[in-house]
């Protein structure tokens, strides 16, 4: 069991027209400054270690980095874990999870829910066997108990359900066709101007 490196994961996403947040993968310290300049502040930095499945718990994720100094310190720590460091523009918004796995009885299965770190506590998620149609994807979104959080609850950003459904459909297609993938998590998917996949975990 191993994680697919970030850039390879992102390439698969591109093939399925799935939008992910702007990212640089840096291996050499001299490339860091340019990457930070291009991305703009704040940023998130993560290790691209293939065996660290629980990156956060292993100290492999540094969020909300506001200055070059903070970024430099994060770089030092992450670079000792693994040469490759993933750097992304940090985005705020409602966090959604889209996931999938290849079930031994039912084959490819899709999941959508309210994401972030609380997903395993609230388990506010809906499942379907992949592939799914747009209407099935919309029905999945309607099954989420906390869907009001996606509908502009107390001044939050309204999430375009059609766009989210389209992303679910594409993720289902990806899962069906990329048979080498055992599990995948897009967590979080965050709604900015458009829906962006902000972290990719693909397990082969």
């Amino acid at each position: 069991m191993s994680l697919l490196p970030y850039l390879e994961s992102q390439n698969i996403l591109h093939q399925y027209d799935l939008n992910s947040v702007e990212t640089r993968v840096v291996e050499k310290e001299e490339d860091l400054a340019l990457a930070l300049k291009e991305l703009g502040w704040p940023v998130v930095m993560k290790t691209d270690h293939e065996e660290l499945i629980h990156k956060t718990e292993a100290g492999g994720v540094k969020t909300n980095l506001q200055t070059e100094e903070e970024a430099q310190q994060a770089w030092q720590e992450l670079h000792t874990l693994h040469p490759r460091v993933v750097i992304q523009k940090q985005i705020r918004g409602e966090e959604i999870i889209i996931g999938g796995k290849r079930d031994e009885v039912f084959g490819p299965v899709l999941m959508v829910g309210l994401g972030g770190v609380l997903v395993e506590i609230y388990q506010d998620i809906a499942f379907r066997l992949a592939p799914v149609t747009k209407n099935e994807a919309l029905a999945m979104i309607e099954e989420i108990k906390g869907k009001k959080l996606l509908e502009g609850f107390r001044g939050r950003r309204v999430i375009d359900k059609e766009e989210l459904a389209a992303m679910i459909v594409k993720t289902g297609d990806l899962l069906v066709q990329e048979e080498q993938i055992q599990e995948l998590d897009f967590n979080p998917v965050i709604a900015a101007e458009q829906l962006l996949i902000c972290d990719i975990k693909i397990i082969l």
Binding site: M1, I53, H54, I97, G99, G100, K101, D103, V105, F106, G107, V109, M111, G113, G115, V119, E120, Q123, I125, A126, F127, R128, L129, E136, Q182, E183, L184, D185, N187, K201, I203
Partner: protein, 441 residues
Amino acid sequence: MKQFFDPQTVAVIGATDRPGSVGRGLMENLLTGDREIFPINPDQQEVLGLATYPSIISVPTEVDLAIIAVPQPWVKQVAKDCADREVKGVIIISAGFGETGPEGKKEEQEINDILAEKNIPLIGPNCLGLLRPSTDLNASFAPGSVQPGGIALISQSGALIDSIIDGSQRKNYGFSLLISSGNAAGMQLTDYLRWAEEDPETRVITCYIEGLRDGRQFFEILRTIKKPVVVLKPGKSERSRRTISSHTGSLAGQARIFSAALKQAGAVEVDSIQEMLDVSKALAWQKGFSGGIAIITNGGGAGVLATDYLQQADLPDLDDSTLETLAPKMHPGYSAANPLDIVGDALPERYRAAIEAVLGQDNIQALLVIQTLQIMTEPQENAKIMIEAKNVFGKTMVTCFMGGGEETMAAIKMLEQNGVPNYQDPLRAAQALLALNKSKQ
């Protein structure tokens, strides 16, 4: 399917009259039907008054169905004989195969291969058998039989069928088919789904499923089935195996995926044996609907309970024109809303006025009529009105005649014999309505 649904000749291999044996149970059950039975037993001259044959080879006529209930070590040879005789179908009751381990699994596969070579379909092994009540076929060692009806029950547990047969003795619903699938070395759940789909007697397909070999195939077939399918699946409490570490991996336990697949394929999932039978009865007798539900009750409490249980459904308000029609015929204290409380002293004519007015409203497609027995209530007259209204309006109707005294039971019998499912608890009535609301058809 005819060899399993209405065989003209049946051989019972392992027939015996030893009290308390499976072989005797099979013989007694088969003899309740009108068909030719050949008991096979090399050690006995006759069984229950019928002359035996030493083996299936010596049976003088063609055999439609062979039922094998001999000890495990002999089963393969007997199956070979059945293949040589080219019987048309085989049920293996005997246990001691796949359920015991890999060797037993291999043995049952070899047996199926022997039969498959001659295109002989196999039910079992390790099963209770099959019942087709409409042809008086009881090819099982169940403790009795059931009346014919529209429910096809397919169960991976034979003992569950035993209990359902025992529990259905004085009920008004009946079965088109009961199949105990056992280890399913030959015929699979998916084959039985197709049988039931094609069977003109079957109105609803009810499955008790412990495990699936090929969930994807099951799902794809379930999707194409046009009849309503009800599924009871145990194992919800089973902790999902956390061998893999993505969020999805840990959240997506077998039970959740199974439930999702059922919903996606349009099947109705139930949580208990009682709900399974309640829902099946409703789907066998009533057509599914989409649209609003109205509740009519002569007791406020029961009406509020039903409203709670139906909160996920659409309970439309009563239109002004409906209320105008109602007002002159109601008690001044009536609720003038949905749920429509027509007050405890309601006599049959008030029930009739309420039912007709409410069913006349276009956005109401289903009706739940509740009756609490009060001193002036006339259950049988009420039942007649409901049956009549069901036939006139052609909309879905479920009743909740609560209690269970003599008068109430007589009314319930009348309702159910006319295809109106009754439940003595509003919760059960609501479950039936919700299933009708989301079911196929």
